[in-house]
């Protein structure tokens, strides 16, 4: 009959353990929702957005509300899922919305030959600020609006560059 008593003791501990697990689970769900739908921090690096973003990497805060309401505008820095590799995110600036006509230089290192495009419906034209070292819409064409996953708000690291991005 002793094991019956042990069972009862364990029942109390098990219930408490389950409560703690459910608190942790709810907290993780809250983190997921905030990170995906409200605001998140991203580490970005690479030369394609010089001089706006540093080569060695910055941490920026990005919000995930604007693109759901269609409020992405010209000049916004956006986080986009790469059309050439869906496991990577790229950070570029929106330079054209649907219906806009743009002309860009095919190869900025060689001459001024210029190509003119019209951004199709449902797409945006993204470009890195550093025209010489950026693969963007000049290479893979306009990207569908639905690939946009966030808009950059401000930079939080390194501390001496803290503040909004322009």
């Amino acid at each position: 009959m002793r094991w019956l008593r042990y069972l009862n003791q364990w029942r109390g501990t098990a219930k408490e353990a389950l409560e703690q697990v459910s608190i942790v689970a709810k907290f993780l769900c809250l983190i997921h929702v905030t990170d995906r739908y409200i605001i998140s921090s991203t580490h970005v690096q690479g030369p394609s957005m010089l001089p706006t973003l540093n080569l060695t990497g910055d941490v920026i805060l990005a919000e995930h509300l604007s693109h759901r309401f269609g409020k992405i505008g010209l000049g916004d820095i956006v986080l986009v899922r790469s059309p050439t590799d869906p496991t990577r995110m790229v950070t570029k600036r929106v330079l054209g919305l649907e219906g806009h006509r743009l002309s860009f230089s095919a190869d900025p290192l060689v001459g001024d030959s210029s190509i003119s495009v019209v951004v199709p419906k449902g797409h945006v034209w993204i470009q890195g600020d550093n025209l010489y070292a950026s693969t963007d819409s000049r290479n893979f064409g306009p990207v569908p609006y639905n690939l946009i996953e966030g808009k950059a708000l401000l930079r939080v690291w390194p501390p001496r560059f803290f503040g909004s991005l322009r």
Binding site: K26, C29, S82, G122
Partner: protein, 169 residues
Amino acid sequence: MHVAENHILEKAILDMGIQTLIWQVTKKAFTGGIIGLTISDRFCSVVPVRGDSMSPTFNPQRDSYLDDYVLVDKFCLKDYKFARGDVVVFSSPSHYKERYIKRIVGIPGEWISSTEDVIRVPEGHCWVEGDNKASSLDSRTFGPIPLGLIQGRVTRVVWPPQRLRKLGG
């Protein structure tokens, strides 16, 4: 005098009771909503199939008032590895609020023959077509779509009960 005071006290306690009740219900709804959203984003979700572009796989009868509901698995979004024959849910490349369900018939690097010419599916993209070629808006119209637009892979039909089945392949 005492009766009036008791009355006011009772009313105050009742008011507080209703307020806490509303607060409890709101808290439970909020928690439930957040958990549901996380599960539907990371594990699986159920979506209705509208239209007959995937007939006879989904919605085989044109005027049936019962739409098929399918289970969409989200584990495939970890590394975006899809195969020819997968039925996927993806955001439209031309209308930013719409989502379509179609079948992948071309993976990156393959050649697809469309009406006049042969097109190569670029890296990071896929070619989707509906099973009902006659009435389907798919890659034959808007070209190959980036894999990043895919939001999940359909694994089973879960409603109506007589059409419950696992999708092959």
